[in-house]
Symmetry: C2
Subunit: 190 residues, 2 copies
């Protein structure tokens, strides 16, 4: 999506060869006009699918997921991160998610009331890198015997393994900008 | 706001005399149609004010804040919670926020780039009880020498002190439902 790639080049802050910060328009300050355009683009890419609900994970996926769910006029559900493992809590679906960014493991949970058998779920997040968060969210949907329609992502780091792994598993992944590499302070898109 | 009060009575889950859960439509699953109606109502209540930006705190305020900011076509900023105190980090405004719900203290931060001198800021959150989160957010805005236009809240617990304290200080607080008390499994609104 050209408008997003241009914005990443203009306002993204390259930290190193693997990390780029987009907190001026995606995940700390949020440019709502851009976000709504990106939401429409994701909806267009999944236009052949019936979507009953949008699922994301707190906190930085919520704005994007809200924009999509609102335009589709469906409910949004955001999985919560918990420090304590929720094993033994029968009220929730849970999955473990390792964060390479923070070098820690979270348990993410969704109350069983909010993911139902046979619902068509679009999963959404701001970043896709190693795919740990998406794998956790997919697990929650599949525990509920609901259907993963696909995953809508703002920025995918194509040089990390998550996208390839999930596409090889057959999941429909749509990323609005895929970064091929970051070298010598330059971003190249696929 | 009648539609919200009706929904709280229909779907809110009373935990005890002080706690009501609305996670089926506000802060775990989000009813986007209701959220957009509530966002329009908040905008209407602040219609005499110029609003440059909407500020909230992760995670459960983000959907409501996004709905309002998107309708106003302005940016949203969400303050982040940090475990470590950010004293000595010159890049951020920070404030300490005690959570009575979780019985812990968080430091909330906003990068100084995203709150600017003289900007008109509408602060938004899902709940107002003791007012700790709002006091922290107000502090961030005032550290930036920006202007607190007011605070837009979904549910205020009128039986706790936050709303009274902040109104006495002269802040313009608008809450879409103010709970007077919860007794014998019955909610009474002001």
């Amino acid at each position: 999506m050209k408008i997003l790639k241009d914005r990443i080049i203009k306002d993204g802050i390259i930290i190193d060869n693997r990390v780029i910060k987009v907190d001026s328009f995606v995940n700390h300050q949020v440019d709502t006009a851009l976000m709504n355009k990106m939401a429409n683009e994701i909806i267009n890419r999944f236009k052949d699918n019936k979507i009953d609900k949008v699922l994301t994970i707190e906190a930085s996926g919520i704005a994007f997921a809200y924009a999509i769910a609102s335009l589709l006029n469906v409910n949004l559900v955001f999985a919560k991160k918990e420090k304590t493992s929720n094993i033994g809590n029968d009220d929730v679906y849970s999955a473990k998610v390792f964060s390479f960014t923070h070098n820690n493991e979270n348990t993410i949970v969704v109350n069983k009331k909010y993911l139902k058998n046979n619902e068509n779920i679009l999963i959404v997040d701001d970043f896709l890198a190693n795919g740990e968060a998406l794998k956790g969210l997919i697990s929650l949907v599949e525990q509920a015997n609901a259907n993963v329609i696909g995953c809508g992502i703002i920025i995918e780091k194509g040089f990390q393994d998550g996208g390839r792994f999930l596409r090889n598993k057959g999941y429909h992944i749509e990323s609005l900008a895929i970064i091929k590499n970051i070298k010598d302070n330059q971003i190249t898109f696929e």
